[in-house]
């Protein structure tokens, strides 16, 4: 992809990620995160990972974030109250540590041997749904099956955790079909 396009997308991704961690209102944080996800999906498509890019939009931005939105509505979350001043020192230390983390990651990854070099020409059919499916169902079949069991466990677990406990049966004479 052209350098100018990458600079624009990278700036957009970083700004919206910063928006996610700094906004007070949870719904604004969520929208900023959706912008980050969509920007990353565009970067994926620019890196020839077309199927993964569209899946990012369909699954992540289209489903997981809607789940977050539902929970925010369900809990009726309002704007976060500003934390007490005692935490300011803690936040300053946290900020410094994050800056150190960025510096470390940059030093490690920028000079890593596999990270350098220009992009090679992609092999034919790279990133298409046929190639992804072939690889997925041949080399990674066991992982695929285990992931499907994991998803089933997640569904059952989420329902079991989140539903209200069934109310105990009321004491007294059982009511007839007419509820008399």
């Amino acid at each position: 992809m052209p350098l100018g396009v990458f600079i624009f997308l990278a700036a957009l991704a970083v700004i919206s990620a910063l928006g996610t961690v700094t906004q007070r209102n949870p719904v604004h944080c969520l929208l900023a995160l959706v912008v980050t996800l969509l920007t990353l999906a565009v970067i994926f498509i620019g890196l020839d990972a077309v199927t993964v890019g569209f899946l990012q939009v369909i699954v992540y931005a289209g489903a997981i974030m809607v789940l977050f939105l539902f929970v925010i509505w369900l809990l009726n979350l309002r704007t976060e109250v500003r934390s007490s001043p005692g935490y300011l020192a803690l936040k300053a230390v946290g900020g410094v540590l994050c800056a150190v983390l960025v510096a470390e990651l940059f030093v490690l990854l920028w000079h890593a041997p596999s990270a350098g070099g220009a992009q090679a020409v992609a092999p034919a059919g790279y990133g298409s749904i046929e190639t992804l499916a072939t690889t997925l169902f041949s080399d990674y079949l066991v992982s695929f099956e285990i992931t499907s069991v994991l998803l089933l466990a997640a569904i059952v677990g989420a329902i079991a955790l989140a539903r209200r406990a069934p109310s105990p049966p009321t004491a007294g004479a059982p009511t007839g079909p007419e509820g008399a």
């Binding site: 969509l38 077309v50 569209f54 939105l69």
Partner: protein, 370 residues
Amino acid sequence: MIDLLIEAIKAIVVVVMVLNLAGVLLWFERKGSALIQDRIGANRASITGLGKRMGLPNLGLVNTLIADPLKLFTKEDFVPEGADKFLHALAPFLALFPVVITFAVVPFGDVVQIGSRTITLQAANINAATLYILATIGIGVYGIALGGWSSNNRWALLGGVRATAQMISYEIGLSLAIIAIVMTYGTLDLQAICRAQGGVWFGFLPRWGICLQPVAFLMLLTAGMAESKRVPFDLPEGESELVAGYFTEYSGGKQAVFMMTDFAEIVLVAVLITLFFFGGWQVPWLYRDGFHFPGGAHLWLPQLLVAILGVVAFMIKTIAFCWLQILIRWTLPRFRYDQLMRLGWKGLVPLGLANVVVTAIVVVLTSGAH
């Protein structure tokens, strides 16, 4: 340079056509519903009064297409107190944008050859066009959700929550129907799917997708109408319960944009049904060099006329399915919300999965093992 100009013209034509068709559908809906309900409908406004003096019936075109939009766009734009101003303003456009950009990958005709240049009648030719459509339909949830939430109104929020839950539930049914089609044709490219529906079976039956996937057609129609929250699935809008559901607090231009979204989604569902099940721009027995009738007669036509006939056929089929959705709207009563959810999860999803399994078996058996 010329290529860029042609692409720009195609994109502009597509957007203008979609928005105009959404407007024309508004008139269709008003007069069509009047026809179905045995009443007259809008027939008062006229500009010069000439038609009335000549004794012609007033078709309500000025009323619906000029007076109503003018009224809507000049009304006061009211933002409720305590509402999130930014999101309240953003939500209608966030709802309209994904629906309109979906039309970028829709092929409305076969190629046109002008001189030495072959122009495909599709604004953007991407290989994974079907995935793109699913992605934009998924993003369309946010405009509705934010419209309901940002209004600081409990009925709007309730409508928004219902609408979001309904849309994400029926997305699964929609995706399963589209997956069955993709398996049948073996490609995600929309133009390739349309081209594969050319030709005939047994010498006379056009190879349209409805003969291969009738169940998926019904699923797409149902899930599409549920996605666009049309009656019988319009409980989120709930005209008799929630005032206007998620767009209660919208007035003026923003309400006009929400309604335009509604009609653009009708066009989108009609276009998808046409592309996947009714041959898209294919006219029966029409090939690139003219008509080849079943009896053996051959009528030669110039290539430009063939392309134009394809585009006209696409438009006619799309308008026919828009009319079908309007007909269904004014015939069926509204579903209760639990009936709606039950249909989506316990009806469409198992049916779609069974359809996918049967399609897979048939595809493997008829094409040999890979």
